[in-house]
Symmetry: C2
Subunit: 455 residues, 2 copies
């Protein structure tokens, strides 16, 4: 067989035309979202003031295996997709491993990550419904940037509530969003009731994702012609992100490559859920077997140290409750530099798969993550996002195990994005000033004690 | 015929394996570099203390049409190349033009630009010669980043003299370079004689490219096992950058697309010279005809308002003299945000082509450039570099002319890079605080009066 090329691109004609709904193949379905007022499963009518209609259908549908990707979204995908599956020849060489390492690279677009895959879908359905605009929150900024791009494309107004500390520390992210026409509000703000309440209770707070979510939801439901959109956690998002896994599988299949291990970083689960979807489908249907590894930061270890329980998705408790591995909605992760992995909970779909023993999880410390990022940058060229570097760390660790055992395993990991807006974190690492702060059992127990009681 | 895909990628096997030396097809060869001490053409021996041996051969060779690209460089190219030729369907639609717009996108690598194409070549030859390291200067930071990546890859030491104002205003660029292991010195510095002299003469100066070049050259010639490398202007750089045009031509040929107009931004000329090379070769050989347009900033208009004469390449006057369109080496451009286009002179190759009437040149004002950048970002997704946006501006202007005349011209332009490290400039534009400062005839005459006298 010919040498595998450095990068495998699909032809435009080979790109997926349907999203894959992993839930259709799950025997144990993820637990339903609950209405915080009634503690009953959320209905379409309950969700209608918050989400776009078509997206609610996708959110609630646990049986339809495939959804057609609308032509307008396919056209947009063609601008920045397919993303390549890259063979990490030079990383393998640097490690001296017999393992074969591949990564699916989602960072070659201006949002800098895979988030654009769902942003354009959500913006499309908002436009289709005749809405004026959408609201959302952003922490690290990838999602807000992606949504700004998507809204600019469809001519929708875009209101982003940006966690205040990020708003101040990442002015460049803010300017990218403004260039695409979005309006950015540092959260908590005095533009919403929940924001004012939080500011009163915690003056001087620098905000959190959970708090920004509450503000964005309030802003949507109190404005005519607006809905709220979210970049992770939700099942609809995992559905859209299945394009990552479908492309990856098609690319690997072209060269008869079957991965043994599939690795992804996990914050809310959007990337990992999308990457593994078609492979996990095969495993669920008993057609093939793979090892799946979710990698999370030691500072925010929802799968490895959290509890599988119903919890609030936001600080203001205005959102539905989800059953998930959670550290408690009041958990405050330490100042880890992977902003996209600082969410207290994990996608219900992934949580159920983990509970069923279909997926493994590991946690890694950020200094070792940045060491992996640096090695990757110097050998493979691309400077990775801190979030993505969690997956790099785990992939390197698995490849080094192969070096010990001599096994020629094939590893696929998701390189979700680039770190061009995360240079403050790299500077800390370059200056030797980065440390690891891991929550104590007591800290986690404290926030878990505040979990809502659900019968 | 099938619809042209959004992105045309070459297969790995279709990638160019040779660089094309445009000078071989030029009847009027570019004027030789002169030794500043003797005012005689630079010999190989003159250049040996400054440049790597193989690169000197490439610099002086005006007759060999093709140079094999070494395997090690081809392998590195495969990590981030081929770069796509993209059909700007959505930009065309937004403009309502019958013109067909294509762009060759060189920004999908961590250096953020085409500079990596020559950086990896220059690092390779330095390594091959057994050197310890290389020195260079950087202004906007693209070149320094590219060279840092290339040196990390080959295990070479990399010393970058960064124009002080950029060092201070672009700390993130600096950190990217440090992540790749480069050492960065703000210029002028007290680490070189020429730096100390400039600091004494102009205390408080924020530096210039010409001054950083002088420091980098001194640092190389006074250190055992070091040579100096440069990211633009030189003929060797244009040779390496021919990979842009060769790939673009191969991709267009696959779909029988022949551009009528080829447009590139022009600072020192590395991108434009590379993009047009094979097309200009056809024109020089009388095989085909194309219009070529160099786009420069109105604030630094070397082709459109400069003089074709021998001039110094650096402020310290330690470098060889080159015959080029120049504004004078003492010309200080206003604070234009396209840092990569602020050089006082233009590549000798391009200067000769322009003098021979084979290429056109236009200058554009930065507010209109950023308006074009914003439109491009919102329609085509990618947030372009300020430098590249000069080419976007000119391409849009040509497409709008087609709208008036109804002509279905095919336009190809070079999108050299992304603007992720240029958000300060975008912020100025977003806030409506950007203005255009155009040098007066008097200013230009003043610096031209200081041109060296060459018989």
């Amino acid at each position: 067989m010919n040498k595998i090329p450095y990068k495998i691109y699909l032809e435009e004609s080979e790109m997926p035309r349907k999203w894959y709904n992993l839930r259709a193949d799950m025997k144990n379905k993820p637990a339903p979202l609950l209405n915080p007022a009634t503690m009953q499963p959320m209905t379409k009518a309950d969700l209608a003031p918050v989400f776009c209609n078509d997206l609610i259908d996708q959110e609630l549908d646990e049986t339809t295996p495939f959804f057609d990707i609308p032509e307008e979204i396919l056209d947009f995908y063609k601008m920045y997709r397919p993303s390549p599956v890259v063979r990490a020849y030079f990383l393998e060489k640097a490690l001296g491993t017999p393992a074969k390492i591949y990564y699916k690279f989602e960072g070659n677009n201006t949002s800098g990550s895979h988030k654009l895959n769902s942003a354009i879908a959500q913006a499309y359905y908002a436009k289709k419904q005749g809405l004026k605009g959408v609201t959302t929150e952003t922490g690290a900024g990838q999602w807000g940037t992606a949504l700004s791009m998507a809204c600019a494309f469809f001519g929708l107004d875009c209101r982003v509530y940006m966690v205040k500390v990020s708003y101040e520390q990442k002015p460049f992210r803010r300017e990218v969003m403004r260039t695409y026409g979005a309006s950015i509000t540092p959260s908590p703000s005095d533009t919403t009731k929940v924001g004012r309440k939080i500011l009163e209770e915690f003056p001087g707070t620098t905000g959190s994702l959970g708090c920004a979510i509450s503000e964005a939801v309030e802003s949507a439901v109190s404005s005519e012609g607006y809905r709220y959109v979210l970049g992770s956690v939700l099942s609809q998002v995992l559905l859209h992100q299945s394009v990552i896994g479908l492309e990856a599988k098609a690319a690997l299949d072209k060269y008869q490559i079957a991965p043994d291990i599939i690795i992804g970083c996990a914050g809310g689960g959007s990337n990992l859920g999308g990457l593994i979807a078609p492979f996990m489908g095969e495993k669920l249907r008993g057609e093939k077997d793979y090892r799946f590894i979710a990698v999370e930061p030691a500072s925010c270890p929802s799968l490895t140290r959290g509890k599988y329980a119903y919890d609030f998705c936001d600080t203001g408790m205005v959102c539905p409750l989800a059953k998930m591995y959670t550290l408690g909605s009041s958990f405050m992760p330490s100042a880890n530099h992977a902003g996209g992995l600082r969410y207290h909970g994990m996608s219900s779909v992934l949580s159920q798969l983990y509970a069923d023993g279909l997926m493994e999880a590991v946690s890694v410390e950020q200094t070792s993550v940045f060491a992996a990022a640096q090695l990757f940058a110097r050998t493979e060229g691309t400077l990775p996002a801190p979030e993505s570097s969690h997956a790099i760390r785990a992939a390197i660790d698995e490849a080094l195990k192969c070096k010990e055992t001599g096994e020629e395993k094939t590893i696929l990991f998701g390189l979700t994005g680039t770190g061009y807006f995360d240079m403050t974190a790299y500077q800390k690492f370059n200056d030797g000033e980065m440390s690891d702060v891991i929550p104590s059992d007591e800290d986690i127990a404290k926030s878990l004690a505040k979990l809502p009681k659900v019968d």
